[in-house]
């Protein structure tokens, strides 16, 4: 399926872009994250298991078990620091 990816803050800086479109076989957010980690380099480091990474699908916070749907928007970002 086609997914729009969004990255923010230090993750955006590490990866070098704030947004990209991917075609993926992954059906869950965890599987998609593993696919991105498998790219190696900045992706592997920024999204590594054990790092504090928060996720949202279609602009709702969710965990790794969240199912993906064609055309959805997936975001990866560090712990938030607003307010």
């Amino acid at each position: 399926m086609n997914v729009t990816l969004k990255y923010f803050a230090s993750i955006r800086e590490a990866i070098g872009q704030g947004s990209e479109s991917v075609h993926t076989q992954a059906t869950t957010l965890d599987a998609l994250r593993d696919e991105l980690i498998a790219r190696g380099g900045a992706y592997a480091e920024a999204l590594a298991r054990g790092r504090a990474v928060r996720t949202a699908v279609n602009q709702d916070l969710c965990d790794g078990a969240m199912a993906l749907s064609d055309g959805c928007e997936v975001a990866f970002f560090p712990p938030v620091t607003g307010g």
Partner: protein
């Protein structure tokens, strides 16, 4: 609008916002508000400026959901949240939360609830410029703990 959120670069006038929030509602007996401002020091360094990034679309949506939750938990009439983004400097206003109710207990609690919720769930990120260089601000465990007092798992400062 009785419950509204604005994400904006421009500054705001607290007095005007408070007046607008309670205008025409004579049921109101209590107005509680919080104002967050940029400090000159953070985590051991002096701060020359701060850049606030956010997730357009999700920011407004998440804060609107927080206000829905506040409405369910507390007997309040109206609420307003303003959060600035972009480049800010020490003493600048960052965030404003205001709530109206008949009596003070409900709006005091709702105001604190909204701030605790926003601190750990609203998608903003701060990058500050210090003499040692620019750095991303770290999320605080104490903010997760603050939200836990309301019975909500923040899950903000964690590794996954």
């Amino acid at each position: 609008m009785t419950f509204s959120v604005s994400i904006q670069t421009q500054d705001f006038d607290v007095s005007q916002e408070l007046a607008a929030l309670r205008a025409g509602d004579a049921r109101v007996g209590a107005v509680c508000s919080f104002l967050g401002t940029v400090r000159e020091r953070n985590d051991g360094s002096s701060v020359a400026s701060m850049e606030l990034e956010h997730y357009p679309g999700m920011t407004e949506k998440s804060i609107a959901a927080m206000m829905d939750e506040a409405k369910k938990r507390f007997d309040i009439y109206a609420a307003r949240v303003i959060h600035r983004v972009g480049l800010l400097h020490p003493e600048d206003q960052i965030v404003f939360v205001a709530v109206t109710s008949a009596h003070r207990g409900e709006s005091f609690k709702a105001c604190e609830f909204l701030m605790d919720y926003l601190k750990t769930q609203a998608p903003f990120w701060k990058k500050e410029v210090t003499p040692e260089g620019a750095r991303w601000v770290d999320a605080r465990v104490s903010d997760d703990q603050a939200l836990a007092r309301w019975g909500i798992q923040a899950a903000n400062t964690f590794a996954a």
